[in-house]
């Protein structure tokens, strides 16, 4: 009896002792985060454990994939006022602005500006820009920062160095001009290799490359003027942009079936050394590493088609988190996101997931290929920072039109005329 009593005291005392040694006790508070990033789930869970050990606040990362399903879940939750404490928004800036106007997203500006804007200044400015609404923005949203970037991304070209050498080109010098790119295309058939692969079946990636060349050929101002309806899509510069796709197809540069290719297939083809080029984002570093760790490749900006304006690529925040303005835990959520974007956590995320960190100070220890993607941030732009959005039916007609050009069904002029017609219809509706 005496022995049993002694044992009980010993067990209870040990429990207290170990609990004290291991971490802060669970405070009873918890934060729920919804996300769609399958590849980052283990890293997020590890960080959640570390945060709980540090603060006693439990963070539940709930994964909903694929991204389409996630997107629908967030919308449905917004309609039912059931959004979690922290969530991400996938979609155009127009959708983001609707969430803000509906009162679902907390304005983070006061928190970002605390301590001489310490938190704000820790990010790449272009990463933050995606989540920012400036004075007089066309979405009629109160100016401010409404999201926290978790990582950054750039989308550019990658090339297989071994295959490039096999084709008789310098493996350390990717094409610098559009003509040089087409020259590679002409050599592909004889070598029985595929040229450029990309997820152009998911049409947004066509839009991305077309916009890159639009910036290069006519400059940002003219692109924005087109979106505003001041320049028609039938303008010679837009026809030139559309013609580039025809030239790429005619030179043999584009992989067969690219118009219905999903990005996963494109990634497999490139990783398995079946294709010389891929048009893909910085997230692909992790994907290629998983598929073929021995793959020798480099990243480069899409070769210029004109010397008139600099080349631009899409980039900025890869993924961002927003805080539910109606959440009871919003203060805790802000503190958690602030912690998550501090240098050690960002460095861990970059190392564990091969994504570029959004925190400027965490970018030191990255591979050469990732460094190429990071350097390209200087050329990065994104529709979400232009301040105006093109009508969705116009974007769809433009991208599907490019598919039609590639399959030889329509000419660039025909596509331009069709897109302009839809643009005029949408403008008329808006009026």
């Amino acid at each position: 009896m005496r022995y049993g009593k002694f044992l009980s005291i010993l067990v209870i005392a040990s429990l207290f002792l170990f609990a004290g040694c291991s971490s802060k006790p669970y405070s009873g508070k918890s934060i729920t985060v919804w996300h769609w990033m399958t590849d980052r789930e283990p890293a997020f869970n590890e960080l959640a454990k570390r945060y709980e050990a540090k603060t006693g606040i439990k963070v539940n990362f709930e994964l909903y994939a694929p991204s389409d399903a996630y997107s629908q879940k967030v919308r449905a939750a917004a309609q039912g006022a059931n959004l979690p404490d922290i969530f991400g928004i996938l979609g155009e800036k127009r959708d983001f602005s609707s969430f803000i106007k509906a009162g679902f997203i907390l304005n983070l500006t006061p928190y970002m500006l605390e301590d001489n804007a310490k938190w704000k200044n820790s990010f790449f400015s272009k990463a933050l820009a995606v989540n920012e609404f400036n004075d007089g923005n066309s979405y009629a949203v109160a100016p401010g920062i409404y999201g926290v970037p978790i990582d950054i991304m750039t989308i550019q070209m990658v090339y297989n160095k071994s295959l490039f050498k096999e084709l008789g080109f310098n493996p350390n010098r990717p094409p610098q001009t559009f003509e040089e790119l087409l020259a590679v295309g002409k050599k592909l058939k004889a070598a029985n290799l595929e040229g450029l692969v990309s997820g152009w079946g998911e049409i947004w990636m066509i839009d991305c490359l077309a916009n890159n060349y639009a910036f290069n050929i006519m400059g940002k101002d003219k692109v924005i003027a087109t979106i505003k309806g001041e320049v028609p899509y039938t303008d010679a510069d837009w026809i030139k942009v559309l013609s580039l796709f025809k030239q790429m197809q005619e030179s043999g540069l584009l992989a067969s079936g690219i118009v219905t290719m999903v990005n996963k297939t494109a990634e497999q083809l490139f990783a398995n050394e079946k294709a010389v080029f891929a048009f893909n984002g910085s997230w692909s570093v992790n994907v290629y590493k998983g598929m073929n760790p021995k793959l020798e490749y480099g990243a480069f900006l899409p070769p210029k088609a004109s010397d008139k304006y600099p080349m631009a690529i899409w980039g900025g925040a890869g993924s961002s988190f927003m805080i539910n303005a109606r959440s009871k835990n919003k203060e805790e959520a802000v503190k958690f996101l602030s912690w998550l974007t501090e240098t050690p956590q960002q460095a861990y995320l970059a190392e564990a997931t091969n994504n570029l960190p959004a925190n400027k100070d965490s970018i030191n220890k990255i591979s050469d290929v990732m460094a190429s993607f990071a350097k390209a941030m200087d050329y990065a732009t994104h529709p979400n920072v232009w301040g105006v959005s093109e009508f969705s039916p116009v974007i769809e007609a433009f991208d599907k039109g490019i598919q039609s050009i590639i399959i030889g069904e329509k000419t660039p002029e025909q596509v331009a005329a069709e897109v302009q017609k839809i643009k005029e219809r949408e403008l008329a509706k808006k009026r």
Binding site: R94, S98, A102, S256, G257, V259, T260, I406
Partner: protein, 290 residues
């Protein structure tokens, strides 16, 4: 006493009615209501636009192209898919060896996930490394080898055939069940009367199978007109708009354009089209029976 009994009946039925109302009637009313509004699915405010969503649908060429394309796939399913299903069911109904094995094999495609089927066929049909092109080349038909899903001339027919492959098992099962209900004595009587196999098939099998054929036809039409997962996985509606079908267009309006009102109007229009097709078929069958 009678009141108590009636009340009891209502209590028993109530759970089913409530569930039906929550999951079917209320959403249906909401869809109907939303079709008259412009709404992005996020903002609490909806703008009443009257019939303008429906007017826009009438002028939407891509929408009508998608309806025509789903009609084309349905036509192939009605003819090719059901003919294959019927022939295989007829073969399995006879005294052949390993017929249970065939029954099992033929029913595998319908139970597979549409996403899996789409991905597998995408791999088979791939222009670069697809097995179909490989075999065509091996058999000296290299001139036929091409990218089946990216060529606008073959993309729609290819997805239609894959849809038939995926769906013929249901028809097979129903036809087989129908064939097995035909009394064997009728065939024996026909044979006694001097009928050969073809005459027995024409005079006994076909007339008695008409109700099953009608059922399979209705299920094929309603199922095929709503096809989208397979197409979404294989082509995403491309190249261009060549494999777009109505459900993909509704999804595009909702997800791509954030136009929930327009998507609801498309859903209602499509529902009306399906009702019209079913009603026409009902009338045709009624006339045929008469």
């Amino acid at each position: 006493m009678k009141f108590k009994s009636t009340l009891e009946n209502y209590v028993f039925v109530a759970p089913a009615v409530i569930i039906f109302a929550i999951f079917y009637i209320i959403p249906f009313i909401s869809v109907f209501q939303l079709a008259f509004f412009d709404w992005d699915g996020i903002l609490p405010t909806k703008i009443f636009v009257g019939l303008s969503n429906f007017k826009e649908i009438i002028a939407d060429k891509v929408w009508w192209q998608s309806v025509w394309q789903s009609g084309y796939i349905t036509l192939i399913a009605l003819t090719f898919q059901n003919a294959v299903a019927f022939l295989l069911a007829w073969a399995c109904d006879r005294e052949i060896r390993m017929k249970n094995f065939y029954r099992l094999i033929f029913f595998i495609p319908p139970v597979l996930s549409e996403v899996v089927v789409g991905l597998v066929w995408q791999w088979i049909l791939n222009g670069n490394y697809g097995i179909l092109n490989y075999w065509l080349t091996q058999f000296g038909l290299a001139n036929l080898a091409h990218n089946w899903l990216s060529d606008p001339d073959t993309a729609l027919t290819t997805v239609a055939i894959v849809h038939c492959w995926k769906g013929f098992g249901w028809g097979f099962l129903l036809f087989l069940a129908g064939l097995q209900t035909i009394p064997r004595e009728l065939y024996e009587a026909a044979r006694v009367d001097g009928a050969n196999s073809w005459n027995a098939f024409k005079k006994v099998t076909i007339p008695l199978m008409i109700p099953v054929v009608v059922l399979v036809a209705i299920l094929t039409i309603l199922g095929t007109m709503q096809v989208f997962v397979l197409i979404y996985t294989m082509t995403g509606g491309g190249p261009g708009y060549h494999t777009e079908v109505p459900v993909l267009r509704i999804l595009a309006s909702m997800r791509g354009s954030s136009r929930f009102g327009y998507a609801c109007a498309q859903g209602i229009t499509f529902g009306v089209i399906l009702c019209m097709v079913s009603f026409t078929q009902y009338l045709v069958n009624k006339r045929a029976k008469a």
